[in-house]
Symmetry: C2
């Protein structure tokens, strides 16, 4: 990616002024600018982000509320500093733990009586149905009228900012069909598995908005977006086929799987009417379907039935083939990370000047050399106290990394089968003789104990994410440490998928075959941070009927110089020996369970 | 207590027939018979239980649904066997884990289409407002009409079973005032603390139904019920006083605390009208207020505001004085349990024939000798495989306890200050030379590890019961064991109080000053059971700001013959030494934290 020109404060101020002029002309009292795009993506490339354009802030989470008197940017704790630096004209509000950015602006809208009776612009493309409904309820008491680009006559439909900023054309890269050797399931098999769920709810179809769900359902992968193996498309799951709606100019593979029918995006509604009649029952997940899509489908005659997507759960449970393929990718990424770790230590000890950005480039190179087509997210490479920032993505290119520093590397690759990897290692910069301080060892070993808790956890079927989360944290809690993020997230086509959620908010039971991270950490401002992240899956416990086992899938070596062996129990030490042996497994080989491994 | 005459199957059949005749006459298609009484008490004495009268079943949890064709008794897993034996004419349905007895009959009512359009009798005295509302909704689809004793003209108000069974007159024992040396708070102080909560909700008062809340609020204790230090009374919390509604014949102490105003129960409504006017806003907790009370208050002009009771939370957080007093009671009970354990082992080794009932009597005697006025629940004394039943209260008087058996004793005392204790020990019957089997040791030590996990848990403020619950279970899960009950419950005036809940359903944060049990167990049918229960409290962690510590309060010796030391970590072994030393503390002395104790 080309380096972005930093936007000056003056330019940003001008943009804000222009927006407010537009607001005046359109008689708006407020504009809500969201971080997300029409796919409700977690990460939006900066050039495609109107939020970045208008505020200057480039972080992944952060919505802005602009009135004539105020300009507020709501972010979470990890982005406080960055937001304050990048968005000088905004009042940066950091949401408290357990509160979301969305809740924060909802509250603000309810509290700001100056907006009473006024008109608020939001883009219906950037709000889920669920959030739109919440917003509608929230503004009722202040009698605020919600205006979207669709509120106007069809020929005038445009966002309030359309004179300042327009979304650049969507890239349309080549699309590839993934073999069933990798996915373990044909589209027709998936259709057969999902059909009873449609029938149960008397649905004629289900609208599939999330990009990874579309990729999963069709066994197609694309590269229209950075760090995502997906194509810009949406789908409708019918009883006997999938309608895949793409822009007509989008290149498509000559061969598709049986059951996949491509329709030009603009003709999706028409096709639905032809197939299902003038009125039809269509399931939609209100969390992932935009209000704009909902309005479009309703106009086409759909009776929308709000329902949690049956695809999320199905997609989270990997087939044996997916597991084997993901294990292969994870093993390749393990090696890359280990190589970069060795390279960095060697170069620094040779007196070379290496910055965080150099490490970021190197890991991209190693991933590419191992066959990866992309990273699965912008690499986090943090030296010393930078690692105290959980999502540290603005890599430094000024300060050479120093011997004796702790270095945190949280990176993931995307291989051509289109599944993400995700791994974090924290290590001491230096050669074998370099000694960690007792404090570094004590803290690293505490995080390691938490990680081992997770990787050796055994529990009854039906155990939920919040319970596993507590088991992992316990080791840190015991020492008065904690981390302000979940213990783990699901991983699949996207590097973050849900379910599962291994976090205090994870109330769903964990399922055999899900792949998720276990990534406890410890962050101390001005000192630094330690995180150890491994991808794992869940198995039936072969020794105890009705019980599950966590099985680690990633084995990049841990830095032994940072381990205080006396702090570990015998069992934990035995686990480390098992863990180290597993690094030598063939890439395709699924590791044995700890209990079943040789002592 | 006098031994109850076993009721013959014939008598039970007759009762069921008579009830069905009454149902015919009153044109009822179904009758719901609940385990609870007008105080929604957890334990109802058998002679006061219409459910016991009509079904024969004497367990604490279990509701019956009787139609003309069916007689169903819904119980939870611990009561399956007992219900089948005691209620031969009932179809015993065991609810699945995570489902309550109430949910089970609600579902049954919705499913049984034979009841469509018919009339169902329930006693409004035995249903909370919340449950009554659920029931009302649930039967709508079947168009079932709900009939209560209040559905009829005032002079005819009676339950469907009134010709068969009537509640014996409520005992009215002496009432005592507890000193502030024990409670640490006067009634006026409590009023001052609760007043802002009333004001916040613009309430003129709050109706206080739970017996322990009434006792707490007034600093009064009674003995109207077995195993409960409470009086049969209800209260209304006002801004400046508590109205205490008791039957006029109830003896009361000559002196009450300032702020407590006694009114005859029948005049409560009238008094409220005199004080608050013809219409007033009154808070009620829909979980603990019966539908009958709600109807009475509404008739008196109350506008009921449903709200979680502010008293539950306040009551759960013990004052320093309460903690010290409870610690004293717990220490006394510890000694009693230890003495009975020693006595039992000695007698059995002497060849004496001792049964479970003998042990039950002995523990009552020891408690009485230590100053207790009652047990806080019917003692559980289970030898060998009997201990596989979690709530084993039908003690055996036939089979002498054998050397080498595991013996489980779960007992609690009530001292005159009116706080409950609760302790479980499992030990090997025999002298010091008696050896446990490797399996007994392995299993006992696993439960012990779980208990130690709980007693040494440290976690951030705001951690909820479900999280602590998982930390405790982890040791058992690791070995493929689990227990079908919560890890712990709150303890105060009642032996079970909520909050806190240390269980998978415990989503509220744990609070400093709460007292709760940690009681992991392991139950194997035909083998037996092991449970280790200790009462604990929660402290601010002196070493880490923002963190809490669990502090054990009970230290009755653990059976060392059952501990496999090699299975424990160094830290766990060190904890056992700390635990053993704390048994020697003075009764009034709060134990030191494990971290702060001498090594």
């Amino acid at each position: 990616m080309a380096a972005q020109q930093p936007i000056t404060a003056n330019v940003l101020q001008q943009r804000l002024q222009q927006l407010r002029q537009e607001m005046m002309q359109q008689q708006l009292v407020a504009v809500l600018v969201r971080a997300t795009d029409r796919y409700l993506s977690e990460y939006v490339a900066v050039p495609r982000s109107v939020r970045a354009f208008l505020t200057g802030f480039t972080g992944s989470v952060g919505d802005a509320l602009i009135t004539h008197k105020q300009a507020i940017l709501f972010v979470d704790g990890r982005y406080q500093l960055q937001a304050q630096q990048q968005a000088p004209h905004f009042d940066v509000r950091v949401v408290t733990l357990g509160c979301s950015v969305e809740q924060a602006w909802l509250q603000q809208l309810a509290a700001d009586t100056a907006l009473c009776g006024g008109r608020l612009f939001v883009s219906a493309d950037c709000l889920s149905m669920q959030l739109f409904n919440k917003l509608t309820k929230q503004v009722q008491q202040n009698q605020i009228e919600i205006v979207t680009e669709h509120s106007q006559a069809a020929q005038q439909q445009a966002a309030v900012w359309h004179k300042l900023w327009q979304n650049p054309p969507q890239p349309a890269a080549a699309v590839r069909l993934v073999t069933q050797q990798i996915t373990g399931s044909s589209v027709l098999q998936r259709l057969a598995a999902l059909r009873p769920l449609l029938q149960q709810q008397q649905l004629q179809g289900f609208f599939v908005a999330p990009l990874d769900a579309v990729a999963w359902l069709t066994n197609l992968r694309g590269s229209d977006f950075d760090s995502q193996a997906v194509l810009a498309a949406q789908a409708v799951l019918l009883h006997d086929k999938v309608l895949l709606a793409v822009q007509p100019q989008h290149p498509m593979p000559t061969q598709l799987e049986a059951g996949v029918h491509v329709v030009p995006a603009a003709q999706l509604c028409q096709t639905l009417q032809q197939l299902l009649g003038k009125s039809f029952r269509l399931g939609v997940d209100p969390k992932t379907t935009t209000q704009a899509s909902a309005m479009m489908l309703q106009q086409a005659g759909a009776q929308l039935v709000p329902l949690a997507s049956p695809i999320d759960q199905a997609k989270s449970i990997k087939t044996a083939q997916e597991l084997r393929y993901m294990r292969n990718c994870i093993a390749r990424a393990d090696e890359c990370v280990h190589k970069v770790q060795q390279w960095l230590c060697h170069e620094v000890m040779q007196g070379q000047s290496i910055t965080e950005q150099d490490v970021g480039k190197r890991i991209r190179q190693e991933f590419a050399a191992s066959g990866a087509c992309d990273v699965s997210f912008a690499p986090i490479c943090a030296a010393g106290e930078h690692a105290a920032v959980v999502h540290y993505t603005q890599l430094d290119d000024q300060h050479p990394i120093q011997p004796g520093q702790l270095f945190l590397m949280d990176v993931g690759a995307l291989y051509d089968g289109g599944y993400a990897t995700d791994l974090t290692r924290t290590f001491l910069v230096g050669n074998a003789a370099m000694q960690a301080t007792p404090q570094q060892k004590q803290r690293f070993t505490t995080v390691l104990q938490a990680a081992i808790n997770g990787m050796t956890a055994r529990f009854p079927k039906g155990t939920s994410g919040v319970q596993l989360d507590a088991l992992v944290r316990a080791a840190l809690w015991q020492q008065g440490y904690n981390y302000a993020h979940g213990t783990g997230h699901g991983v699949g086509i996207h590097v973050h998928e849900s379910p599962p959620r291994v976090s205090p908010a994870g109330h769903e039971p964990l399922q055999v075959g899900q792949v998720f991270s276990i990534e406890p950490g410890l962050y101390l401002p001005k000192w630094g941070g330690i995180r150890i992240e491994n991808l794992c899956t869940l198995l039936d416990n072969p020794n105890h009927i009705g019980y599950n086992c966590v099985l680690p899938l990633s084995f990049a070596p841990l830095d032994e110089r940072l381990i205080e062996m006396r702090q570990l129990t015998q069992e934990q030490q035995r686990f480390l020996r098992y863990f180290a042996r597993c690094f030598a497994l063939a890439n395709d080989e699924l590791p044995p369970l700890f209990e079943q491994a040789q002592p």
